[in-house]
């Protein structure tokens, strides 16, 4: 630094004669360029928050949001939804007994029947969800406890899963497939739905188990190793099933090779971890009947047959079964409609308040005032 300074002044000092003779012509011209950028004169739009610009924005937003909110609210209200808690906390609950005895490895499964009635018929496709409460699928240690490479069918990851899967990485010195806490805690209750005819006979309602996962998940993110879905038993040889599971991954749906192993849709749905501790996941779809005359689920009595495998009582969890129709905006969601109406009306009112304040107290700025 010192030398550069020194140098600079020397250069200055070297033209003592030049100042006298006005040697401007010989000197290099250091005059800055006259560009809009360098002179900070770039053409610009300079908006000002005047009443004329701000107040209409409030009114417009209010006027747009309130109708949207009303629309959402109405749509949401038209959606039929039925939820039933089958956890079996109460003594009176049909699943009480099952909920009391929980053990992952019990060979005999406990079943219970939960009767319920639908007051209204459900038209169109009906979606069946299972809902869990107080279940922390979003816990950091839980979320990271998976190996996406393994789930994508990577063979090396199959044999030696990622460290993230600990402590569900291996059992009996064999790698676990699929590894990790998420897979280990796969929801394994079986829900079946029966319609009770007025004459007392039970009709099983057909539940579609495919098409419940995202297309990308099913076709890109999850893949069985070697891509061959036929002899999964061979493929998964040398791996161990997750400790909590009753059957191995290749036995999830032996009937349908396209829904077995890692690409089992129930499994995929479970692996997409929920954002909040109370969540619902799509379980089955009840498709609209071919003849449009009868509703998909007519009103009347139903029985939910639960194969109760999934213990939640230990952490005060709840399990629910939810039946719902959907609309263009998805499922029943009154929050969004109400929120829109609220925000819209707040904006509108704020607009009114601001308008009155502006007219009563606002200082109309003009030039006369400044250059006093």
């Amino acid at each position: 630094m010192m030398a550069s300074n020194y140098n600079a002044k020397e250069e200055y000092g070297h033209q003592p004669g030049a100042t006298g003779h006005g040697g401007a012509g010989t000197m290099t011209n250091k005059k800055p360029d006259n560009t809009a950028f360098k002179q900070q004169r770039l053409p610009a739009w300079q908006p000002i928050l005047t009443a004329g610009a701000v107040l209409p924005a409030f009114f417009v937003i209010g006027l747009i949001f309130i109708p949207i909110g009303v629309g959402l609210f109405v749509t949401s209200n038209n959606i039929k939804e039925f939820a039933i808690d089958y956890t079996g906390v109460d003594m009176s609950s049909p699943c009480y007994n099952c909920s009391q005895s929980y053990s992952w490895n019990s060979t005999k499964s406990c079943t219970c029947s939960v009767p319920f009635a639908l007051d209204q018929p459900f038209e169109s496709n009906v979606f069946m969800y299972y809902g869990l409460s107080n279940f922390y699928q979003n816990h950091r240690r839980y979320v990271k406890s998976r190996d996406d490479s393994q789930l994508n069918g990577d063979k090396t990851s199959l044999q030696s899963p990622s460290k993230e899967c600990e402590p569900y990485r291996s059992s009996d010195n064999k790698p676990i497939a699929p590894c990790g806490a998420i897979a280990n805690s796969l929801f394994n209750d079986t829900l079946e739905l029966y319609y009770i005819d007025p004459n007392g006979s039970r009709t099983a309602i057909p539940l579609v188990k495919k098409g419940i996962a995202w297309w990308t998940d099913k076709h890109v993110k999850f893949r069985n190793p070697s891509g061959n879905n036929n002899n999964l038993t061979v493929v998964f040889q040398g791996t161990s099933k997750p400790v909590n599971w009753r059957k191995a991954v290749y036995e999830l749906d032996p009937s349908d090779s396209d829904n077995n192993g890692f690409i089992n849709e129930d499994f995929i749905v479970w692996m997409r971890t929920a954002a909040l501790p109370t969540f619902r996941k799509l379980y089955r779809i009840i498709q609209k009947k071919a003849n449009n005359l009868t509703p998909t689920l007519p009103r009347g009595e139903y029985i939910l047959e639960v194969t109760y495998n999934y213990p939640v009582r230990s952490f005060n969890g709840r399990k629910r079964m939810i039946l719902s129709t959907i609309s263009w905006m998805g499922g029943k969601n009154p929050f969004l409609g109400i929120a829109y109406i609220t925000v819209g009306s707040v904006c509108f009112c704020l607009g009114l308040v601001l308008l009155s304040i502006h007219y009563r107290y606002g200082k109309r700025n003009n030039s006369a005032e400044i250059s006093s």
């Binding site: 770039l42 949001f65 950091r140 990308t216 304040i357």
Partner: protein
């Protein structure tokens, strides 16, 4: 050992760490001329200079070491290390690494380029040529010059190293040097070689045989001191500073000289003086650091809250939830508190984005941009000297918008240091004004016709005069006019130099004198040559030889100088020029009438800010003179009280003078100085003038640049000689101001209330005072017990002028204000004597003027003209401050909105430090998605355009009051950020509790949630920056829209099948963007969130501008309105000229030059000297010795701090009483 290692690592620590070490070793320097082997025995530095820090191999380690010395970088490194611990890593290490590496690389590149330029300039200096005696004379590069070498210097060459002068082309071994680079003084200085060495002359053989040994002090940084001894031929000769030529000096008026190198390279006095400039930081910087600390504190608080939450959660829920989620090993073995401890660190990691790495980098980039805008500004480019403004530091820009005090040098800063003979009054007639045919005064401009001096072949072509009547008067040989110019041509201490016939150059000791002699020269009374006993004039073309009988020299007490000459006709005359008050006291009573008219003219001249001087003569009788001369001779030989005796004698003969007239010399102000000062004053900036000049000169300039005005209530002059006197004067001044304002305040209250903040020109209403303080009083006033009184009094005054101030005192005054007023100070100056204050003040500005470059080199900003200061502060400074504040406000807002979402999420994910967003989003948010729009705002935003910034100086006020970004603003922006984050989290939360996509599948999964919040966040902050931007250039548009586009592009790229198939474990978000952002409900959520986040802020802002519009808001409205019509004319009030009587014998003159002339020691024997040249008096050794002591005594006197000037004080007190009566009158009115 450790120290040595450190030294190796950091060679740039510069000269002083090494200096300290070598000082310990070198107590005495032994140098033998022409003896390399001997000198090499000592570890003397060679003349090679290295200021670059790195070389190719050391760059990386040193630079990294340096960078990690910064707290911020180290902090992020620690974070990075934390992230590598699997138990607590809540984010992948990539998120910190990418930005950190980016920051390090950018900084390293900048450092490398800087260092490269340093290296290049080192090379340039080192490769300079100089002539070195190595057996014979040969050219050598500077870096090869060694201690003990004998070098030859030629006229106008730079001295390569500190050398001992051996011999020169001038008689007596004299040589002249200009030391502008060292101390800023442009006048020539004399150096004289020892007689023994000057006899060596230019004889190469003798010089090569010269083997004297110098033993002297070790290297130090004292420019004015040198002690040593020369041992040669068994004799000892003492050496002092008057025999040294220091590196950086320029040889002038000397054809050649030889010297012996004593100190070289880094050990030269110049280099030893280049202390590292203190690293200056802006107040925003300091505030920012405080705020960052606060944020850390806040972060720790949040971490603790969440850690406690985690402990409780793990205890209550996690324990039972372990059915599905086993505890990790450490927690299982120990307890939940340990889990909480780990969570704390995890949260520290994810919440660290509240202080993003990019903050510091962005601030640097913005400042750099602002610096470039300053460099590029054509309106601060001075065409005459081809100098653009230069921001020499890039770290202080926003502080330019907060300046409250300006400390200005006078000479060269406010004034051009050019004296112009402007007007005169001769025998009661005033010359210099130009009148048109109707008798109206014509304003003199560049285009006014100049007087034609072609009749005079010896005239100076640069001299301009507009009143042709004076030339007419000279031509018709009006006696008084002739006598007037004769006096000017005779009575001075100027040295003429005539290289070619008719090409006269005057070496004037003060510019005033030069101006007067030049005026006489042009009007036909050419001072052509002088000897100790004679002065030769060319009067209207004919040579006239005057015998110089005596010079009655100038000093501060006498305030006048006289010469006694005998003209060819044998008449003896005394010519006297001096301060009008002094001269008028010594006039013959018959001059009464003339005195009155001249006095009137003087009033007029002084009113225009001219420096006036009265001229008088006296005819002397031969006998009287003879008798007087005898007494003079006697008086000058006595040893005791010689000065007093001489003064009495002078006093005795300078009586009964006949008035000739008066001269008026304009101390040319820099262009636009009064207007600039007026404008800056309106911007509520207080301007203090600190000058080394005399009180009268300073006041004169004060009046001419409108800092002092006649309508000021009172001008206080402090000139006490003791502490108690000074205290007394300060106290009374203060009481006076306070007492008076108390009286007037009741009347003013309503007035000021009415106009309060709205009035742009409110400051002009309040009564104005000025304080002028003299150097010796200042020395007392700066003592610890008085400085508070000084400060209080000075701050009550509109104008403060300190005169006769030493460089040290300048720095002390600045320091006083800086430490006690908590205000931003700016020092502006052009000379080496201003360096100390430039370095002390928050901001130092150097005028790249004529007095060397020292000030510029020490400064933070430099430009060529004082008036550019207005633009620098009111436009660039204000913009910089505004931009930086807006930037910081937005930046903190943005990062709080971004980060605090994790906090809210913590309550729903078991306090497990799970991130809300995708890791890639966290990595890229600050450096890609949101960096450019905020940078564009920080670089280009303008609230008010430049014309209005000048027009309404009060717009500067918010910066001074620090209104735009302070702790309150910070609190507000964090609050806004946290509010936004709250809405950002809870609106999607409410919506996603039950959300199901339109194909029935669930979308309330974590990834969809993350994408929704992230998208909302990016949109919200983009809209927010849109609202914060006042000035939407194309660049802003491109950046804002581009950032949004880039966000979506990257989002879909990251969520694409392709990337996933390559790195399945790094891009787990595959398909989320597609599945999520195709849902209408998701977009409804995003829209709702955006509106909910933006509208409250908008409403508040609208209310603020609507109900309590700031001046900025008003000016903006005005600006928009006027743009629709047409640009308005500027209506800044014209600055009034003052019309106050100022007596100003304003010579920047030093005593002793008369003596120098009569001794004849500074006269050259050159054959080319035209005119009759008397034989030079034989130079006997005694005479030489005498002359040397004379020069020495003269130089010594020059070195002294300004002499106390008694009459100045008397003048001052009279001024005060004058002022008193005037105020009393106004009070009575």
């Amino acid at each position: 050992m450790a120290e040595k290692w450190l030294w190796m690592l950091m060679p740039w620590r510069g000269c002083w760490s090494s200096r300290g070490k070598r000082d310990g070793q070198e107590e005495e320097r032994h140098v033998r001329a022409n003896d390399r082997d001997y000198n090499d025995k000592f570890p003397y530095a060679d003349n090679h200079i290295k200021t670059s820090k790195y070389n190719v191999f050391t760059f990386l380690p040193i630079n990294l070491f340096e960078q990690f010395q910064r707290v911020a970088n180290t902090y992020f490194l620690v974070l990075l290390i934390l992230q590598l611990i699997p138990e607590i890593s809540s984010l992948s290490w990539v998120t910190t690494t990418v930005p950190l590496v980016l920051v390090l690389v950018i900084t390293a590149v900048k450092d490398a380029t800087d260092d490269y330029f340093r290296y290049k300039s080192d090379q340039q200096v080192n490769n300079r040529q100089s002539q070195v005696l190595r057996g014979n004379l040969q050219n050598e590069k500077w870096m090869n010059v060694c201690v003990g070498d004998i070098v030859k210097l030629e006229n106008n060459q730079f001295v390569a190293a500190d050398t001992l002068l051996l011999s020169s082309s001038e008689p007596y071994g004299l040589c002249y040097i200009e030391t502008a680079e060292l101390d800023g003084e442009t006048n020539l200085k004399v150096r004289q070689a020892l007689t023994v060495t000057s006899d060596l002359g230019a004889d190469i053989a003798k010089l090569a045989d010269f083997n004297g040994e110098v033993i002297c002090e070790p290297p130090n940084n004292k420019l004015d001191r040198f002690t040593g001894t020369l041992y040669w031929r068994d004799n000892k000769y003492p050496l002092d500073n008057e025999k040294m030529l220091l590196r950086g000096c320029v040889l002038r008026n000397t054809d050649w000289c030889f010297g012996m190198v004593i100190f070289a390279g880094l050990q030269t006095k110049l280099m030893q003086n280049c202390g590292r400039t203190k690293f200056k930081r802006t107040s925003i910087d300091k505030l920012m650091n405080t705020l960052v600390l606060w944020i850390f504190g806040f972060l720790v608080c949040m971490g603790v809250i969440l850690a406690i939450g985690n402990t409780i959660w793990e205890q209550k829920v996690g324990r039972s939830f372990s059915v599905y989620l086993l505890w990790d090993e450490p927690i299982r073995n120990n307890n939940v508190v340990f889990s909480g401890f780990l969570t704390f660190w995890s949260y520290i990691i994810i919440l660290n984005t509240m202080v993003p790495i990019s903050l510091y980098l962005s601030v640097e980039v913005i400042r750099l941009g602002h610096s470039y805008f300053i460099n590029w500004d054509r309106k601060m480019y001075y065409i005459q000297r081809d100098t653009p403004a230069e921001a020499r530091t890039t770290t202080l820009n926003e502080e330019l918008g907060q300046v409250e005090f300006i400390f200005s040098d006078k000479t060269g800063t406010l004034t051009q240091n050019i004296m112009v003979f402007n007007k005169c009054s001769i025998n009661g007639k005033s010359y210099g004004d130009v009148y048109d045919e109707f008798g109206h005064k014509v304003e003199i401009t560049e285009r006014t016709a100049c007087v034609d001096f072609s009749f005079n072949p010896l005239s100076d072509r640069k001299f301009r005069f507009h009143d042709s009547s004076l030339v007419e008067a000279v031509k018709i040989e009006e006696p008084s006019v002739q006598e007037f110019f004769r006096l000017l041509a005779l009575c001075h201490t100027v040295m003429p130099e005539e290289k070619n016939e008719g090409d006269l150059v005057y070496q004037a000791q003060s510019p005033d004198e030069g101006a007067l002699v030049t005026a006489a020269r042009n009007f036909g009374f050419v001072f052509r040559s002088r000897t100790p006993e004679t002065v030769t004039l060319y009067e209207m073309g004919t040579a006239v030889n005057y015998q110089l009988l005596a010079i009655l020299d100038f000093n501060n007490v006498r305030k006048r100088m006289s010469v006694i000459v005998r003209n060819p006709a044998g008449h003896i005359k005394l010519y006297c020029k001096g301060a009008d008050t002094i001269i008028f006291d010594r006039l013959d009573p018959s001059n009464q009438d003339l005195m009155n008219t001249t006095s009137e003219h003087l009033y007029e001249f002084a009113g225009e800010g001219l420096r006036t001087l009265a001229l008088a003569y006296k005819d002397l009788d031969e006998n009287v003179l003879e008798e007087w001369m005898k007494r003079l001779l006697y008086a000058s030989t006595v040893i005791e009280n010689r000065e007093e005796g001489l003064a009495d004698l002078y006093e005795e003969i300078e009586t009964g003078l006949m008035l000739l007239g008066a001269t008026a010399v304009e101390d040319k102000l820099q262009e636009g100085v009064p207007e600039t000062i007026a404008c800056l004053t309106l911007a509520n900036i207080k301007i203090w003038v600190l000058t080394g000049d005399k009180l009268e000169t300073a006041m004169n300039i004060g009046y001419s640049c409108n800092m002092l005005r006649d309508d000021m209530s009172e001008v206080f002059i402090i000139s006490g000689h003791t502490s108690s006197e000074v205290l007394q004067q300060l106290r009374s001044a203060k009481e006076h101001i306070l007492g008076l304002s108390r009286v007037s305040s009741t009347a003013d209250v309503e007035k000021t209330d009415e106009f309060s903040d709205d009035s742009v020109f409110e400051e002009t209403i309040i009564a104005e005072y000025a304080l002028i303080i003299n150097g010796h009083s200042l020395a007392h006033a700066l003592e610890p017990d008085l400085e508070q009184v000084l400060l209080e009094t000075a701050c009550l005054c509109k104008t403060v002028i300190c005169c006769r101030v030493t460089p040290m005192q300048k720095a002390q005054v600045v320091e006083l204000v800086k430490t006690n007023k908590m205000a931003v100070t700016l020092a502006i100056g052009d000379g080496a004597n201003d360096v100390s204050m430039i370095k002390t003040a928050h901001i130092g500005v150097g005028i790249s003027g004529q007095e060397g470059m020292q000030a510029v080199l020490a400064s933070d900003y430099s430009f060529a003209q004082f008036r550019y200061l207005q633009r620098l502060l009111l436009v660039h400074g204000r913009w910089s401050y505004f931009r930086m504040c807006n930037f910081l406000f937005y930046f903190f807002y943005k990062n709080f909105a971004f980060t605090v979402v994790h906090f809210w999420f913590g309550f729903f994910c078991g306090f497990s430090a799970q991130t809300v967003y995708d890791q890639w989003f966290i990595t890229l948010f600050n450096i890609v998605y949101t960096s450019l729009p905020v940078l564009a705002m920080g670089l280009f935003d303008q609230d008010v355009n430049e014309a209005n910034s000048h027009r309404f100086p009060s717009l500067y006020r918010p910066g001074q009051l620090n209104l735009l970004f302070n702790k309150r603003q910070f609190f507000l922006c964090t609050l806004q950020g946290m509010g936004t984050s709250f809405l950002l989290f809870f609106i999607p939360y409410g919506a996603f509790c039950l959300a199901v996509s339109d194909d029935g599948s669930h979308i309330s999964d974590q990834q969809a949630f993350a994408v929704t919040i992230a998208t909302s966040l990016v949109i919200v902050v983009s809209i927010q920056i849109g609202l914060d931007t006042y000035y939407w250039t194309a660049v802003n548009h491109v950046f804002v829209w581009g950032s949004l586009a880039v966000y979506f592009a990257i989002l879909f790229a990251m969520h694409s099948d392709g990337l996933f198939s390559i790195f399945p474990s790094h891009f787990p978000f595959i398909g989320t963007g597609r599945n999520c952002l195709t849902q209408k409900s998701v977009w409804l959520v995003i829209m709702l969130t955006t509106v909910a986040c933006v509208m409250p802020g908008l409403a508040v802002r609208f209310l603020k501008t609507d109900l309590y519009p700031t001046l900025t808001d008003k000016v903006r409205c005005l600006q928009q309105a006027s743009r629709k019509l047409r640009p308005q004319e500027q209506n800044l009030r014209r600055v009034r000229r003052t019309s106050s009587r100022r007596s100003a014998y304003a010579f920047s003159h030093q005593q002793g030059y008369g003596e120098l002339i009569t001794s004849g020691k500074n006269m050259k024997v050159t054959a080319s000297t035209a005119g009759p040249s008397p034989p030079l008096s034989p130079s006997s050794p005694g005479r030489v010795h005498n002359s040397r002591s004379l020069i020495e005594s003269t130089l010594k006197r020059k070195g002294e701090t300004p002499v106390a000037c008694v009459s100045a004080e008397a003048y001052g007190t009279s001024g005060t009483s004058e002022g008193n009566t005037r105020t009393q009158q106004t009070l009575m009115d």
